[in-house]
């Protein structure tokens, strides 16, 4: 019953706002997902218009107060400094998590090590541990691969695993996830990180523990979904709370069963189960 009312409500909203194009801007990680979703959405709602552009999480959030975008996509939570800026001009933003993205830490398949704690990972990526035998592997030099500084994945890994400290300077930075996989595949002592969607049998994913080695979990959509895998980042949409009615139809489409199915197909982790989702869309 409730659902029906909502559908009608959103339907009406659609008609009201179909003339104005919705502008979505921000993170390049979320960009392909948003593009795919908006294409499907437009197929069902041919009268509405959605313009999706990238540029990075920071760019999207900076565009919100300038009113050059209606929704800002972000692969990180809004920074306190940005929140302060919004508060100063009296802008209240609403936050919606549209999907999750899990990062897998991968090594060469011949490497006997199959699990690491966050502290060990931090030491490896900061150059404090340089040999695999220090973490229970063979006597082999650790070769650490990272993404370029421009990558949001780089920033998230730094924040989550390295607790905001800097990577070591001799880290090998690769221009793309594909290059990391290729290098890890052919280098015996390699370690690197990639998005869950890119995981393939040529590299071995490590089980990771964030509680000092009590619980280890392997990266998978299921483990990320139930919260046992720790290296997971939410992907956010931010919008001006006053424009709620305008952006709601698209956001509720993403959070619908169909939208979340697509999220999963794109290699991201879906948000919530169906019943909880309706809770969210009612809010």
């Amino acid at each position: 019953m409730n659902k029906a009312i909502f559908t009608i409500f959103f339907g009406v909203c659609c008609c009201c706002f179909s003339v104005q194009a919705q502008r979505i801007k921000g993170s390049d990680t979320v960009l392909p997902l948003t593009q795919e979703l908006s294409e499907r959405y437009l197929r069902e709602h041919p009268s509405s218009e959605i313009v999706v552009t990238g540029g990075g999480s920071g760019v999207g959030l900076a565009a919100l107060p300038e009113n050059t975008t209606d929704i800002a996509m972000a692969s990180r939570r809004i920074k306190f400094g940005e929140k302060m800026k919004f508060a100063q001009i009296g802008l209240t933003v609403s936050e919606v998590i549209v999907a999750y993205d899990a990062l897998a830490v991968v090594v060469n398949p011949t490497n006997p090590v199959d699990r690491l704690t966050r502290e060990q990972l931090e030491a490896i990526f900061r150059g404090k541990i340089t040999n695999w035998k220090e973490v229970g592997g063979d006597d082999r030099k650790i070769v650490v691969y990272s993404r370029e500084t421009s990558s949001g994945t780089y920033e998230f890994f730094k924040e989550s695993v390295l607790s905001n400290k800097n990577y070591m300077s001799s880290i090998l930075s690769m221009p793309a996830t594909g290059a990391i996989i290729q290098s890890v595949r052919q280098t015996k002592g390699a370690i690197g990180y990639i998005g869950l969607a890119y995981l393939n049998p040529y590299v071995k994913a490590l089980a990771i523990s964030y509680d000092g080695g009590n619980h280890y979990a392997l990266p998978s959509v299921e483990n990320a979904f139930d919260g046992s895998y720790p290296v997971v980042r939410p992907l956010y949409y931010y919008y001006d709370a006053k424009k709620e009615a305008q952006v709601a139809p698209f956001i509720s489409y993403i959070l619908s069963q169909e939208g979340q199915k697509l999220v999963r197909e794109e290699g991201f982790v879906p948000v919530k189960r169906d019943d909880e989702q309706e809770e969210r869309s009612k809010e």
Binding site: G81, E148, E155, N166, S169, L172, S173, Q186, T187
Partner: protein, 394 residues
């Protein structure tokens, strides 16, 4: 009528010459102004301060020390010339972890006071916060902010352009990496290129040349990403097994790929130069009783020296400025290389990889332009030395 037409053609030619020169000068001017902006930038991120407890006498920290402090590599104030106190760091991003929503106020208007209070309570504290958040009457001690000095940039050995609170722009590793890779690329390409050019212009039969020439020119048409991918998948594992290296992405892989890429230009230009050596010179040499090899070595090569050098330099130019292939095979580790078998990072690769996300007008963006200026000077020096060499040989 005809005269008018000639006049118009003349204007068009003069005009395009002027326009091209002006555009080039404008681009160079743009490069220099953006690059020089780096030295007006501040060590600490724009609009932020590093606040200390007022008891703490430390007021000067270099960018490297700031990075060490926030990475917890420097854990005690006495390591940077202060009292014997453990360092406690505070970033604005951690604010929700230290204080509750009530303490901060609904619009975060009390956040500044809360942070000031925290710094006053902790004698070893260092807080990285925006200047506007600190209330004016706050009794804190600040780290002196300076402009970025050229010494830090040109002699600095650490490249951390996105580190907060103080990014490090040491360009030495990048410059060393670029020169190192190009040097080895030329060492590999020069003997090969010259022998192929000599073979094609002097030794090969007409039929052989008609096959070889298009094949070599075909190499020029391959996009550099393809070379990069070839390097990553074929050369890198080969080197890794061949030299038993822990990591195959190295300067050597980069210079081999660059050598292959520089070859077609070098061969084509050098061969054309040798072929255009006057027939009379060769015939005179042969008539004097010189053998074919003596003719090549003593007559043809010296006579076409300027053409050969320009071929070599065009090859070097391609090697120094090449971006994509190097980006994929050298590993991009910003350390000063001590051997060619180590990963290293070049200037063009750095610009290509980082410019996309660097906020326009920020220090990182300006640092990348400054790298462009350095690259410009390297190429300029190479070009000028060619002019000098070829003018001497005439």
């Amino acid at each position: 009528m005809r005269k008018l037409f000639e006049k118009i053609v003349q204007w068009v030619l003069t005009g395009s010459g002027f326009v091209t020169s002006i555009v080039i000068l404008l681009i160079i001017g743009f490069l220099f102004t953006e690059g020089a902006g780096l030295f007006r930038g501040r060590v600490i991120e724009e609009g932020y301060v590093l606040a200390l407890n007022k008891e703490n006498p430390v007021s000067r920290l270099t960018a490297e020390q700031i990075k060490g402090v926030f990475d917890e590599d420097i854990a005690n104030w006495k390591e940077v010339g202060g009292p014997d106190l453990p360092i406690e760091t505070f970033r604005l991003e951690d604010v929700d972890r230290y204080f509750s929503e009530e303490e901060l106020g609904p619009q975060y208007e009390r956040a500044g006071e809360a942070i000031v209070g925290w710094v006053e309570e902790h004698s070893g504290a260092i807080a990285f916060v925006p200047r506007v958040m600190i209330p004016e009457e706050a009794d804190l001690h600040y780290i002196e902010d300076r402009t970025i000095s050229p010494a830090e940039v040109f002699a600095g050995a650490e490249w951390f352009p996105t580190a907060t609170p103080a990014p490090l722009f040491g360009m030495l590793p990048l410059l060393a990496g670029t020169l190192w890779v190009s040097l080895f690329a030329i060492l590999f390409a020069l003997p090969f290129g010259l022998s192929v050019a000599i073979y094609m212009s002097e030794v090969a039969s007409e039929r052989m040349r008609s096959i070889l020439k298009p094949v070599i020119e075909l190499l020029n048409g391959i996009p550099s990403v393809v070379y990069g991918f070839f390097g990553l998948i074929v050369i890198v594992p080969l080197l890794q097994q061949g030299f038993d290296l822990p990591v195959g992405e190295s300067g050597l892989a980069g210079s081999i790929v660059l050598a292959i890429m520089a070859l077609p230009t070098m061969i084509t230009v050098a061969e054309d130069a040798m072929r255009s050596c006057p027939r009379s010179l060769r015939e005179a040499s042969l008539a004097l009783g010189a053998t074919r090899w003596q003719t090549i070595y003593r007559v043809v090569i010296p006579a076409s020296m300027s053409g050969i050098t320009s071929g070599v330099v065009l090859g070097i130019g391609r090697a120094v400025g090449e971006t994509m292939a190097v980006l994929m095979v050298t590993g991009n580790a910003a350390v000063i290389p001590t051997s060619i078998l180590e990963p290293l990072r070049t200037i063009p690769a750095t610009i290509a990889a980082e410019l996309g996300e660097a906020p326009a007008g920020g220090s990182h963006y300006q640092a990348l332009f400054l790298l462009g200026v350095i690259l410009f000077f390297i190429t300029l020096v190479i070009n000028m030395s060619v002019e000098y060499i070829s003018s001497k040989n005439k």
